[in-house]
Point group: C2
């Protein structure tokens, strides 16, 4: 990690800074994140001016962030401001104050740039090819259309969770009258958005604090087994039910809702109404939640410097590699286990009938199979699964992450059991794990001494299945161990396997 | 980790090798462990000879272990044999075969050495000052008396789980007659052991595969919240109940007992009977299970080279440091957080009335508070707790490990909630965590930029409590953040705190 960059995002409601350590094109990791509820857009009147007290709060926060990034040895700070500053009639005065008093030169993003960086954060962290992104902020909402991973068009309205709350909500709990005004007011803002439509692209991704919070509340309500918002699928049906619950609560009751931060309790309902409106309008039954947005989008522009547009060519492959490197994996060993497992997979297609998707999962699991050694030798298969489930892996669905984690967990011993993860798997996934883990386990034992003594494996699909190892040097240890590990194979395929 | 050592333990039932990476006196970690159920002592007749097939199995295994350690770049192999070889009338023949066919020069341990190394493994991993260790192997059982951590006396009998099974068990499920013969046969072996007595030393520690397995079965039966055998307390009452259950099962039923390996299913009952007999005889109601024994004892002799006897002067302190180093902790930051937290602790004694034990836990938690960053920045407090719970920390009870893990978990945000760990805490421990975490959290935020700008803190115990930071340089960020973190303090102590 040769470089450190700090990215500050001065939003209408929340101000955040992330600090990333990175080596361009090679590896990165999040080192720090700070969040402050500045509410810069609060109290803006008909004159469109940021209020003095809001500006004071923002300047104080920027000073703190600047000091923080300074001591964290950040070489470059990228401070951006979004809709609150963009639309303020006293923008110049505010930007000058921040420069003078906090030594920070803000870059005020245009609405298009705000939409674009949000899009960049999404397509570099979620497997979105054709569809839309929605970014609901405090002061504005951006919608972008994505086609073949490209940024096709965008739409922005100066209505976000904070502005909608200030404009339409005057009662607590919200009165029916206010709620109707909120709904129709939101609808008015988006009346001219005529291209958000599930038929134009099947996938809808949502980002921003409001949407992440809605996902967290939904997860907690339903005992979701993963502690992971990025990639979570929020159903519209559940969102509408949640809106109905929130409508009947007053501020205090909302503050007690698990997953909802106190400083967002007054904004969550207006934010949810915006989201529900857009989903209904576009005909989307489900939304994939993105944990990365504007700030990460700006980061990727630096990380992928030279790429135009700055998109990962192979997001998943990169991300798996990045994770493996963080835990100092043994690259040669992992690569050989991967080759052997994939070779068996290919030669056994007539038995398992799986395709490229399973092959990909098996390969990634092989790359990551030993990362749990970083925690403790004992139970390192379990620790590896924990690390996968809690990692910042990009581009995978939760189901895929669960499958990779289970393959890591069962790569060396034990009978496959998905446990609580079953809730996010499909009915036949446990068998899928069993069949893939059986191959991974044999491959792992063929690499028992981690010295690539088994070069390749030839599979004869009979009953029993015969596997002949091509070796350089004495592979007695490996052959013996691989045969011991073949019990899972019998369970997975209903045939014995003889390895020699 | 400049050195690698492989330690092979050729037991009567199981043969194991561990590979340790280490820098003497500084740091170590387990890199690999292999286990093979050789059953060397199986089938020994009245002539006392190892059988040809048992020797073949042992030679093959030693050859494999030798090859394995070779490719793992082990610079030194220490292969030891215990009672099966020690008592074999054809010992010389066997040792010569292993040397010729596997290139391994076995060292045959005397009964005293076997007891001594087991003791060394125990006192370097469990806080045993005065008491006893029991090591139940396949072919023999060792009992040692420990006084002031020293090795006072020892006792050994050539009866272990495997030998007892061969000698007394001829029915499946075991008949009442066989069971009585087993019990009285075991009692006969230990008739002359007259100094194993709870009044001679209050703590009893048990090691070896049989005892670890009994602990695992007991944990699984009762839904124990930690996945950790080392340090587990097994109650005699529960052991006796388990024996009654095992008595009624046949081999197949035992093979299905969760926590019981198939290759040990026939030995577990005889092993349990030996343990129960010794506990009853010594008047012990509880046994602390040790996960380290003979092999680790031999390792510590190398790791602590120069110490006589090779004991950690400060086992817990070393172990915490070792863990922190594994995760590349920031030493200066951790040390400052520790100093600040302990300084507050000392100055607030009139409020919390805690003593040296709590002070120690707080200090260790401060050292480890950020290790979760190795997993993921997001939720690193939770990951840190996971790492502590799953680490190889030595010298702590499970309750202490849970307390340290909870302090790490709540060092930066959230309300204290012990969750499933409550099952191993005392009733007032959650408040203990709350009060200590409140200090740790303030200390952490006083080190917000990790640059030691806050040098020290003066506490005035009034209402509100006032804390005055002595700083070098501008500490506005830290003071501001520490005040934000003071909500937990109010909850813990019922008073506000003002930091300036």
């Amino acid at each position: 990690m040769q470089k450190r960059i700090g990215i500050i995002d001065l939003g209408s409601n929340t101000t955040r800074m992330i600090v990333m350590g990175y080596t361009p094109h090679h590896s990165f990791r999040l080192l720090d994140e700070v969040r402050e509820s500045v509410r810069l857009a609060e109290g803006i009147g008909p004159d469109g001016r940021l209020t003095p007290s809001a500006m004071d709060r923002a300047v104080a926060t920027m000073r703190l962030f600047h000091a923080l990034s300074h001591s964290e040895q950040v070489q470059m700070i990228v401070p951006v401001a979004t809709s609150a500053v963009r639309e303020a009639t006293n923008q110049a005065e505010f930007v000058a104050r921040v420069a003078a008093e906090a030594s920070v030169s803000m870059r005020v993003l245009t609405a298009r740039e705000e939409a674009y960086y949000g899009y960049l954060g999404v397509v570099n962290s979620i497997d979105l090819r054709d569809g839309f992104t929605i970014d609901i902020g405090g002061g504005s909402t951006q919608v972008s259309m994505v086609r073949g991973r490209g940024f096709l068009r965008w739409y922005s309205q100066p209505i976000g969770a904070l502005r909608a709350a200030e404009r339409f909500v005057r009662s607590d709990p919200i009165s029916n009258k206010d709620f109707r005004a909120l709904e129709s007011g939101v609808a008015d803002y988006f009346a001219s958005l005529d291209w958000l439509n599930v038929e134009q692209g099947p996938m809808l991704v949502g980002i921003g604090g409001t949407i992440r919070t809605l996902a967290e509340i939904d997860q907690k309500l339903h005992g979701y087994p993963l502690d992971r918002v990025h990639g979570y699928v929020l159903l519209r049906e559940r969102l509408e039910a949640l809106i109905n619950q929130l409508r009947s609560m007053d501020q205090r009751q909302r503050e007690d809702v698990p997953g909802l931060r106190r400083d967002r309790a007054d904004l969550i309902l207006p934010g949810a109404v915006i989201l529900a409106h857009l989903m209904r309008r576009g005909g989307f039954e489900a939304l994939t939640v993105g944990g990365q947005g504007l700030r990460e989008g700006i980061f990727y522009e630096h990380f992928l410097v030279g790429e135009q547009p700055p998109l990962f060519a192979d997001m998943r492959g990169f991300s798996v590699q990045n994770l493996a490197r963080i835990y100092n994996y043994e690259a040669l060993h992992a690569a050989k286990v991967r080759d052997l497992a994939l070779s068996m997979f290919d030669q056994l297609r007539s038995l398992h009938h799986y395709g490229e998707w399973e092959r990909m999962l098996l390969g990634y699991a092989a790359t990551l199979h030993d990362i749990g050694l970083a925690v403790n030798y004992y139970d390192h298969h379990k620790h590896g699964a924990y690390l996968v489930l809690n990692s910042a892996l990009q581009g995978f669905t939760h189901r895929e992450i669960a499958l990779i984690a289970l393959l890591v967990q069962f790569h060396r011993k034990g009978d496959v059991d998905a446990g609580p993860l079953r809730a996010i798997l499909h009915p036949d996934d446990e068998q899928r794990v069993l069949r893939l883990a059986a191959l991974l386990r044999i491959a792992e034992y063929l690499e028992r001494r981690k010295c690539q003594v088994v070069q390749d494996i030839m599979v004869e699909v009979g009953d029993p299945v015969r596997m002949v190892a091509r070796t350089i040097g004495d592979a007695a240890v490996e052959i013996w161990d691989a045969n011991r590990a073949s019990r899972l194979f019998r369970k997975a395929y209903g045939r014995d396997v003889a390895i020699c």
